[in-house]
């Protein structure tokens, strides 16, 4: 099992050129991300300064604003409160603000985590079992079923938004985490079954047969022999599923509000609250990006192998 070597070993010069091109591209692609990251640490005036400031005094004001609700007060009133007890109160006071409580960001973020990872887990779990069954068992109408599963992808999911909205309302699934997990799982399952089936197909049956002859049950053989060899595929599939569920905006906007709202529809709301608070938006965006980055980095080694999709790996 090795990653296909660089086809046609080019010389050191060629590799240097290719390396520089990739580095340059990566740099350009990362500028907006870096800008968002930096803006999260700017003060509101710095964030809208013209010409834009590359060097600035970092502050946590954006993050404080992201995590709190504040109200503007007069100097006189603030003086009556006594000195600020915490560093974040101090930051708020400096803008004539008083912290009135936590913002809803943490809730929304937590919703995103539960719904994103929950639906990813379910889609990959069910997808693995279905892929194994489709690959190994005689399933009646197998080809038709597989085509049907794929066909659910052919239409943009949002085309069924209204029927789903109506059904969810009837079923009491609107604005619930369970409803969103169910929905994202359903959308991701087709991708997950198809991707994973490719990976299972590649694992020779002889492996399981050898285990079965050696005295293991089919399920044990699956767990001890098939599953470990599917790691790469599972990692790749999980990342794709998570990215979809994590970024999904339209359904989240339509189906959630007070309770199960995820971060994507929430972040624009920050913009609306009390003027254009760009540092808070940037702070929210930075935090929003983190889980997918961390997840991808954690699964990076698996992913590199998995991403070759069916290229022969022995």
């Amino acid at each position: 099992m090795s990653i296909a070597a660089n086809p046609g070993q080019t010389g050191a010069r060629g590799r240097w050129l290719a390396g520089s091109a990739v580095a340059l591209y990566a740099l350009i692609a990362m500028i907006p991300l870096f800008w968002i990251f930096a803006t999260g640490f700017k003060s509101p005036p710095d964030s809208i300064a013209y010409p834009p400031k590359v060097f600035f005094e970092p502050t946590l004001e954006g993050y404080v604003n992201l995590f709190t609700s504040r109200s503007r007060q007069t100097d006189e009133y603030i003086k009556t409160l006594g000195p600020p007890k915490t560093w974040y109160e101090e930051i708020a006071r400096s803008r004539n603000m008083v912290i009135t409580g936590p913002s809803r960001f943490v809730d929304r973020y937590w919703n995103s985590v539960v719904i994103g990872f929950g639906s990813t887990f379910l889609a990959v779990f069910l997808g693995t079992l279905a892929a194994y069954a489709f690959s190994r068992f005689k399933v009646p109408l197998k080809d038709d079923l597989l085509f049907f599963i794929l066909s659910t992808r052919m239409m943009p999911p949002i085309a069924v938004a209204i029927p789903i909205f109506l059904m969810y309302r009837e079923l009491g699934l609107s604005d619930t985490k369970a409803g969103m997990i169910l929905l994202y799982t359903a959308v991701n399952l087709s991708l997950s079954v198809w991707l994973l089936k490719g990976f299972v197909d590649e694992i020779p049956r002889e492996y399981e047969e050898a285990a079965v002859v050696d005295g293991y049950t089919r399920l044990q053989a699956f767990r001890k022999v098939v599953l470990p060899q599917m790691r790469a595929g599972i990692a790749a599939t999980a990342i794709f599923c998570l990215i979809f569920a994590w970024n999904e905006y339209a359904f989240a906007l339509l189906l959630t509000s007070g309770h199960a709202q995820t971060a994507p529809p929430f972040i624009p709301i920050i913009i609306g609250e009390g003027g254009l608070d760009w540092p808070a938006v940037a702070a929210g965006t930075t935090l929003f990006l983190l889980p997918v980055v961390v997840f991808t980095v954690l699964l990076r080694n698996q992913l590199l192998r998995g991403i070759t999709f069916g290229a022969v790996r022995k």
Partner: protein
């Protein structure tokens, strides 16, 4: 160890009849080699014994009991697969220990370690135990596969071309080793190969498969000397047996139904006075011996196996004769005619 038997077993895959009405009894402690060209049904036959395929008709028995509908795990056989039997995500040690860790076996870690290192030493892979299975050469992988079967003491060993990807030297070593192990353990082995030399040297009995049919099961010597059919005759011996129509080279059948004579190349004698005129078309030297392709009366070609020091060169003319009593005779259906 135990005996195993197949009774009237047939297995079809769609239109293909992979195994066709096979009866075979493998005695306890017997080494049976199945020989046949690709697609003859050798692997399928092993899979039927292991329970990885269910016969369309007929029964399979192991140790006297009918196991036809028993799951593979319950049959207690060991299978060395033609390819892909090592788990790439495990080390060599874990691969070898895998069968011993099966749920029904309940062997202690200490005992497992001891058994695995014994087998690894025997197969000379002791120094590779910590390697991942993917970090082995083809020959080492094959030895680990064999080792995985040998760690257990199953009813029957089923081996599907276990030596096929080894170099000649290692093949020979392992062949000898395997035969020794089999004798020591008194193991019952069904062994599949394409290689007639392996078949001749390993087998107590050889089974010849032809498109799913078992055409002959006998001791190697018997099959070589009295092949049941032309097909069986052609499976053993290199170069292949010469087939000559009655009357050629003065061959006269002992019975009216005999129409084709089978003559082994070593039974073709060259340079005997009073023989038939022949011309040497090609010569292939194999070290101690040489093979001469001869053309006799009317374009009939005959292979002769000769000593390497015979002064025979291409284009030479010489006299050939068949050693008296050597030919075997076949009838119109290509079956052996008893004489």
């Amino acid at each position: 160890m135990a005996e195993a038997s197949l009774a009237a077993v047939t297995k079809r895959f769609g239109e293909t009849i992979a195994v066709d009405d096979v009866d075979l009894t493998i005695a306890n402690g017997e080494f049976i080699v199945l020989l046949g060209p690709t697609g003859a049904g050798k692997t399928t036959l092993l899979r039927l014994i292991a329970g990885l395929e269910t016969p369309d008709s007929g029964t399979v028995a192991i140790g006297g009991g009918d196991v036809t509908s028993l799951a593979p795990a319950m049959r207690d056989v060991a299978f060395v697969f033609q390819q892909y039997s090592l788990y790439p995500h495990y080390t060599v040690f874990e691969n070898l220990a895998f069968p011993l860790r099966a749920p029904g076996r309940r062997m202690g870690e200490q005992a497992i370690r001891k058994r695995v290192s014994e087998i690894a030493e025997m197969l000379r892979i002791g120094h590779k135990l910590k390697n991942k299975a993917t970090q082995l050469s083809g020959g080492e992988m094959q030895r680990v596969s064999i080792g995985r079967a040998l760690v257990r003491e199953p009813n029957v060993f089923l081996m599907d071309e276990p030596l096929s990807s080894l170099d000649a030297k290692l093949r020979e070593d392992l062949r000898v080793e395997l035969k020794r192990i089999q004798r020591d353990l008194g193991a019952t082995i069904v062994y599949v190969t394409h290689d007639q030399l392996e078949a001749m040297t390993l087998a107590d009995r050889i089974g010849i498969l032809d498109r799913g049919r078992l055409v002959q099961v006998d001791e190697p010597r018997t099959i070589y000397e009295r092949p049941a059919t032309v097909y069986a005759a052609q499976r053993l011996g290199s170069p292949q047996i010469n087939l000559l129509p009655a009357g050629r080279l003065g061959l006269t059948p002992g019975s009216a139904s005999a129409i084709t004579a089978g003559v082994r190349p070593e039974d073709v004698e060259v340079g005997t006075p009073g023989g038939f005129d022949a011309r040497v078309i090609a010569v292939e030297r194999r070290g101690a011996e040489m093979i001469a392709l001869l053309e006799v009366d009317g374009g009939q070609q005959v292979h002769a196996l000769l000593d390497a020091h015979r002064p025979v060169g291409e284009g030479a003319s010489l006299q050939v004769a068949v050693r008296p009593g050597a030919p075997v005779w076949f009838d119109r259906e290509q079956h052996l005619v008893n004489t």
